[in-house]
């Protein structure tokens, strides 16, 4: 399997200047709104520390809280399933639908179902799946995965959406007014809500103490998905647990402030028990999470609440777009999670970072994202997944830089400067430094040569 080539994909993204500029501005705007929220709460850093501590506690007692959650959910009347991996999750969902003869499923946004590739699995088994979140619906109709975990179609201009909707929903191709487009999606989705035989959501949080699922949305589509059909399925990653309802307040205060720079989502729904005459199923999904929990350097990534703040602030993500990562999870959080799913396929992603650390600074649960990126690089090199040219360049650099004699020969070679130095310093035989940048001029003498001449050996 060939590794995803992020640099190549980013180059295409950058070529579309209007899209790039909009994408960068839109996400930077979210980052600025987030900053304003942090300034309005004097206890911001305290909240981050608290959120991080609650998550660490939960993850280090995860088995206990999962059992408590299961017991309480069953007591509430829900039916609980456990799925070891994506295949088990998809099979379980398919069987639940099958046992009700359900052929149509309306669903709210869920990164987990994308992670499991659930939609194509169900569709090939004759089940119609309708995404009801506006951004997810745009992406579904355009047959593309989401490019951002909170704003799935953020890489599209409204004219792109108009083109997708006119092609798939029959809207006026010349009308890209956002209200018109949103209303068109609402009107065409409504019949699906009324007719669907099953509804599905993911979970932002799952509360062990109450056995309830908490879903935070801005469109009300999750509530319609849950309350209209007679069958409700919640897909829940096992890391979504919180011990008690009192802990939820910390996270509800953080989630939307970090995601969109708004104080809270429009709707925070608590789904606890099935209505009379209906069924509520909860599928608890591992899919690599317990393995990640055992990784000394990387288990911290499980604290993630999927707010997307690290993506909004990431200068690389903003200039390459989520699809350039070729994975369900993109941006800073993506590059530290994706290698756990497939090290080879995602081996280039931890290098799609300048290690600038802004992601770590915004993270509401204090995941040391850029430090994990650094550590993934070590793992990738150790497991022989570096491109040959980089591996070879580093071996040579290591030899030259550890020998004062070789080093001096390299940097002091008269006339070799401009030709030889950039290659030596920048480690690439097909050096692309000069494509969009001038190469620094080599000076007449190095600092060391100046020093020896001017200060002698005093």
């Amino acid at each position: 399997m060939k590794p995803i080539d992020h640099a190549e994909a980013s180059s295409k993204f950058i070529e579309a200047k209007d899209h790039l500029d909009f994408h960068d501005r839109r996400l930077w705007d979210l980052r600025k709104k987030r900053d304003r929220e942090t300034e309005s709460l004097p206890e911001w850093e305290e909240l981050r520390a608290l959120a991080s501590a609650i998550k660490e506690h939960t993850l280090t007692h995860l088995a206990d809280y999962l059992e408590q959650f299961e017991a309480n959910a069953i007591r509430n009347g829900a039916i609980v399933h456990w799925a070891r991996d994506a295949a088990e999750h998809n099979q379980t969902v398919c069987e639940i639908l099958g046992s009700h003869g359900a052929r149509t499923l309306v669903k709210a946004k869920s990164m987990l179902t994308d992670e499991c590739d659930m939609r194509p699995f169900l569709e090939t088994r004759g089940i119609e799946v309708i995404e009801t979140d506006l951004g997810e619906r745009i992406q579904q109709l355009d047959d593309e995965p989401p490019s951002h975990i909170v704003v799935p179609a953020v890489h599209k201009l409204r004219t792109d959406v108009a083109a997708v909707f006119s092609r798939t929903l029959g809207t006026d191709p010349g009308n890209s007014d956002v209200h018109y487009l949103a209303e068109s999606q609402r009107q065409t989705t409504r019949p699906h809500f009324l007719e669907a035989e099953a509804g599905m959501t993911g979970a932002n949080f799952a509360i062990a103490e109450t056995g309830s699922i908490v879903v935070c949305t801005n469109e009300g589509n999750a509530d319609l998905s849950v309350h209209l059909p007679k069958l409700y399925i919640a897909s829940v990653g096992i890391e979504k647990l919180l011990p008690r309802i009192e802990h939820l307040g910390v996270f509800v205060r953080m989630l939307s402030r970090n995601a969109l720079g708004s104080p809270i989502t429009q709707i925070t729904s608590h789904f606890r028990a099935p209505r009379p005459g209906t069924e509520m199923h909860i599928v608890l999904v591992d899919n690599g999470r317990s393995e990640r929990l055992g990784m000394a350097d990387f288990w911290y990534s499980l604290k993630c609440i999927r707010c997307g703040a690290c993506m909004n602030t990431c200068p690389v993500y903003r200039r390459s777009g989520g699809l350039s990562y070729g994975a369900t999870y993109s941006g800073p959080i993506g590059v530290i999670i994706d290698p756990t799913f497939n090290l080879r396929k995602y081996s280039a992603l931890p290098f799609a970072s300048t290690l600038n650390g802004s992601c770590t600074n915004v993270c509401p649960v204090k995941i040391n994202i850029h430090e994990q990126i650094y550590k993934w690089r070590q793992v990738i090199a150790e497991r022989q997944q570096l491109p040959f040219v980089k591996k070879e360049a580093m071996q040579i650099a290591g030899k030259v830089l550890s020998s004062p004699k070789l080093y001096r020969a390299a940097v002091e070679a008269a006339g070799a400067g401009a030709e030889y130095l950039p290659r030596f310093m920048l480690y690439n035989r097909l050096n692309p430094w000069g494509r969009q940048r001038e190469v620094p001029e080599a000076p007449a003498a190095t600092f060391r040569q100046w020093y020896v001449k001017n200060r002698g050996k005093r």
Binding site: A7, T313, L355, K390, L401, S402, M425, T446, Q449
Partner: protein
């Protein structure tokens, strides 16, 4: 106080004037400075590429060169960050631990250790945009970071603000990364160059004649970008201004 001057490889090879300014500035302040002649690099290029093992011999050489000094001072935050936080490819002997703990970036050394608050010889009658490299900002915490709530402070700005005639401009995104990132600059060239172009354009639009920085590697990248775009922005290391360079 025995201070060793640490001149990173790229400064040695490309920007000797920055090394000279750093040395002269420290000497002006009455500090006795030694320059170990066998120094090369700190190991960061290999380690940041995932090749810690290839960095081990270079790290060992670094420690051999800089053992026995009270302080090791270098005009480059990312190299100091590597020494302090990532020089882990070799056994952590007492010598290694001591060298790592005593290594300082120039601005923090002047600000925190020497506690210099004014540079009477310095004058820089230009408008400047300050660029603090990400390692200097977010790892060495030399200034308030825009992501973290709290009171404003900036060690580089505090030192520069005593320079006669200097005027500061504020770009739209003062602490967004400029896209250098070491080997990122070649292996992720499209995004790196775009970030660099955006950075120098932002400073230029804010009215900067000069971009000044404690991090010459960022400036090497930014200078290449500005020249390619044809922007009339000039670049200077903070040591040069504090040492009296008038631009």
């Amino acid at each position: 106080m025995k201070v060793a001057l640490f001149i990173p490889c790229y400064v040695d090879a490309f920007f000797p004037e920055v090394g000279i300014a750093t040395l002269e500035l420290l000497e002006r302040l009455g500090i006795e400075v030694a320059y170990p002649l066998d120094q090369t690099c700190c190991g960061q290029p290999m380690a940041n590429s995932g090749c810690e093992k290839d960095a081990a011999a270079t790290e060992a050489l670094f420690v051999r060169n800089f053992t026995g000094f009270d302080y090791v001072v270098g005009p480059s935050g990312s190299c100091v960050h590597h020494v302090r936080d990532h020089l882990t490819a070799i056994d952590q002997t007492p010598e290694v631990i001591a060298v790592r703990a005593r290594t300082y970036e120039l601005v923090e050394f002047l600000h925190d250790i020497v506690k210099v608050r004014d540079f009477p010889w310095a004058e820089f009658p230009h408008s400047v945009g300050l660029h603090i490299g990400c390692s200097t900002l977010r790892a060495l915490k030399t200034a308030k970071m825009s992501e973290i709530a709290g009171a404003a402070f900036s060690k580089p700005l505090q030192l520069l603000s005593t320079v006669r005639g200097i005027r500061f401009v504020t770009p739209d995104r003062p602490d967004e990364c400029c896209g250098f990132g070491g080997t990122f600059s070649v292996f992720e060239e499209p995004v790196s160059a775009k970030m660099g172009h955006d950075k120098v354009t932002d400073h230029h639009n804010a009215g900067a004649e000069y971009i000044v920085s404690p991090d010459m590697s960022c400036l090497m990248h930014q200078k290449g970008c500005a020249e390619r775009l044809g922007l009339p922005v000039k670049f200077i290391h903070i040591a040069q201004i504090l040492n009296g360079d008038r631009g």
